[in-house]
Symmetry: C2
DNA sequence: AGCGTGACAGCAAGCGCTTTCTATCTAGTG
DNA sequence: CACTAGATAGAAAGCGCTTGCTGTCACGCT
């Protein structure tokens, strides 16, 4: 039914070994023979059997990219950059590798299961993106898996994830970014700032919030716990959290959001509450996703070099770039001041 | 070095066959034996060798999802929905399948290569999303590949892609949506509408444009070729195209964009040109991506049920839902009238 | 008591490819 | 001109798992 190597060999009048060598091209084969084989491959429409090949060679060309939410451009942009470097078909890199992205939906179990699946497939490399869940049990389980993967020869790289002893990491300076952002707001004169955080158990959430609080502390502004609301990394969450913040303290002059998407929700809530941005309330986001510049007013935010970080992680995963010293590279964000933040109204 | 089935068998004092059967669970195994095996698996930290298993069983649990641009939420949303139904770990569906998304970047060659790679891996199913390239040679090549895949037992489903004889398709009524949108604008009184199209060779582009023109024709409005500009499906393209449209005819009262992202770029260009939306110029998008409602004013657009369509495609791909009659299901968009469109200023 | 019948467990033959080792042939060398 | 090195090609042994076919028991029936 299906065409096998042997069929090609028979047709080209050579041994299967030769066909294999022509296809893999790492062994001398006479030009005439090669041609004959290629012709047979073509005529028979032969397609290599991946599993068989992976089994025999004990390697595979699968590379896994784990993301928390594939519908979120934050991950989409990184994934795209990684995939590009990984090689995939037509990518910058050579060989044909199957770069696949796996959507964990932020669930620890799914993350683990995908890792196992990738391990089953003897993946060549795995890149984990985005914040991690801070549950110790889960962290240990993931660490364990990563170690095993590495032991089995799978290259493991983290991108936009806090470093762990088990892998090379390209990490974002979320803390620093958060701090810069809040410093900017404080510099404008704000003293009553609301903060909309992401899910409480995510590292990204914690780091950004810590940066915010550090800035507050440095300016001697008391950090009222009332002024922080936790939510999800989506628009609706930003909307609701803003309403809640307003309910708690209508005199807020600025809202700092966990990311741009949340910030957009915050803007909507403010507008619906009859407040103008930034005249009545300033709003700031994080990430600088493409749409942030199109908000009206354009969003002040911290730009994270998602594509660059992804590309670098991808290259490292392919062994085309050396790991950073110490296995950790920290990438800083850049404050982008735009129209959504301004001085608070004089009281 | 690595633990194999045989190791587990030895430890559990059974034959490899028994271990395999315990793991696959489709053959009677005494409870006590099963337990012993499971214990050994656990103690040894055994991980099945995917390729070996796929080779022996001549099947695989890989499912491929092809997207044009993974950084675009349009695809992200569909991919996410598909993946959810496919099963992946923790998905609604049972078994553990490796649902992977492949980013073609809109390139025909990459599309083909990914298809071959998937074929190599003997994928269980493949879902192709988004518009197709209208190059006859490429269409034929893809059709060919799809047929082969289907012959080899891979289920092939198209989602948001024009139907082809080779596969089941969930298709969007882009033409109808485009028509509705333009009818809405005409109904408001617009007579001089600019159109920013996507890449010329994409089916999606053509269909939406055809709908637009059909509406124009029905209203007896002459379709000036000058009023259509082709571009890419991104923001910058919308920005530049709008500037160009304005250059050609400053009296335009409405701009219809190929999708929401492009529309956002158009809005920016209009604002930068000192025009107000919708007072001076109305703007309409397509897709109703999440951020569209956050634009100011909120974008009038055609909502496409991306998630629903994806979910359905996913279920069909897994054989958990019957194919639609004739193998084609057409999904309509829903006109969402919002603030970005209004009556043109009285002249 | 004799035997058919399930319920399990094991044997062994591959699945389709890679790769080591060997065989063959040609050409260069002293 | 015998001899060796280099270049190719082939034989065959797996890679780790699945599964059809064969046992082997322990029962329960006549």
């Amino acid at each position: 039914m299906t065409v096998t190597l042997a069929d090609v060999a028979a047709r080209a009048q050579v041994s299967p070994a030769t066909v294999s060598r022509v296809l893999n091209g790492n062994y001398p084969v006479a030009a005439s023979t090669r041609e004959r084989v290629l012709k047979a491959v073509d005529e028979l429409d032969y397609v290599l059997n991946g599993p068989a090949s992976a089994l025999a060679a004990a390697t595979s060309d699968l590379v896994g990219i784990l993301v928390n939410d594939i519908a979120d451009p934050f991950f989409g942009i990184m994934a795209s950059a990684i995939q590009n470097e990984i090689g995939g078909p037509g990518g910058r890199a050579g060989g044909e590798r199957l770069a696949v992205v796996c959507n964990t939906g932020g669930s620890p179990e799914r993350e683990l299961t995908y890792l196992t699946l990738l391990q089953r497939q003897r993946a060549a490399a795995v890149v984990l993106t985005g914040g991690a869940i801070e549950d110790p049990a889960h962290l240990a389980a993931v660490g364990n898996k990563l170690r095993r993967l590495a032991d089995a020869g799978t290259r493991v790289v983290l991108c936009g994830r806090p470093p762990t002893p088990e892998a090379i990491a390209i990490t974002f300076d979320n803390r620093g970014g958060g701090q810069q952002l809040t410093e900017h707001l404080i510099g404008l004169g704000h003293r009553r700032l609301g903060y909309i955080a992401g899910p409480e158990e995510r590292t990204t959430t914690r780091h950004r919030l810590e940066g915010h609080r550090a800035a507050l502390a440095a300016a001697g502004i008391e950090d009222d716990a009332e002024r922080t609301v936790y939510g999800r990394y989506d628009r609706l969450s930003g909307y609701e959290a803003t309403l809640e913040l307003l309910r708690r303290d209508r005199t807020l002059t600025a809202v700092v959001a966990a990311n741009d998407t949340v910030a957009l929700g915050a803007c909507a809530a403010l507008r619906d509450s009859g407040l103008r941005i930034p005249d009545d309330v300033s709003v700031a986001g994080f990430d600088d996703l493409p749409f942030s510049i199109d908000a009206v007013p354009a969003l002040t935010t911290v730009r994270l070099p998602l594509a660059e970080a992804g590309a670098r992680a991808g290259r490292i995963a392919m062994g085309r770039e050396e790991a950073p010293p110490g296995g950790i590279a920290t990438v800083r964000g850049e404050l982008m001041v735009r129209g959504s933040t301004g001085a608070p109204r004089a009281k």
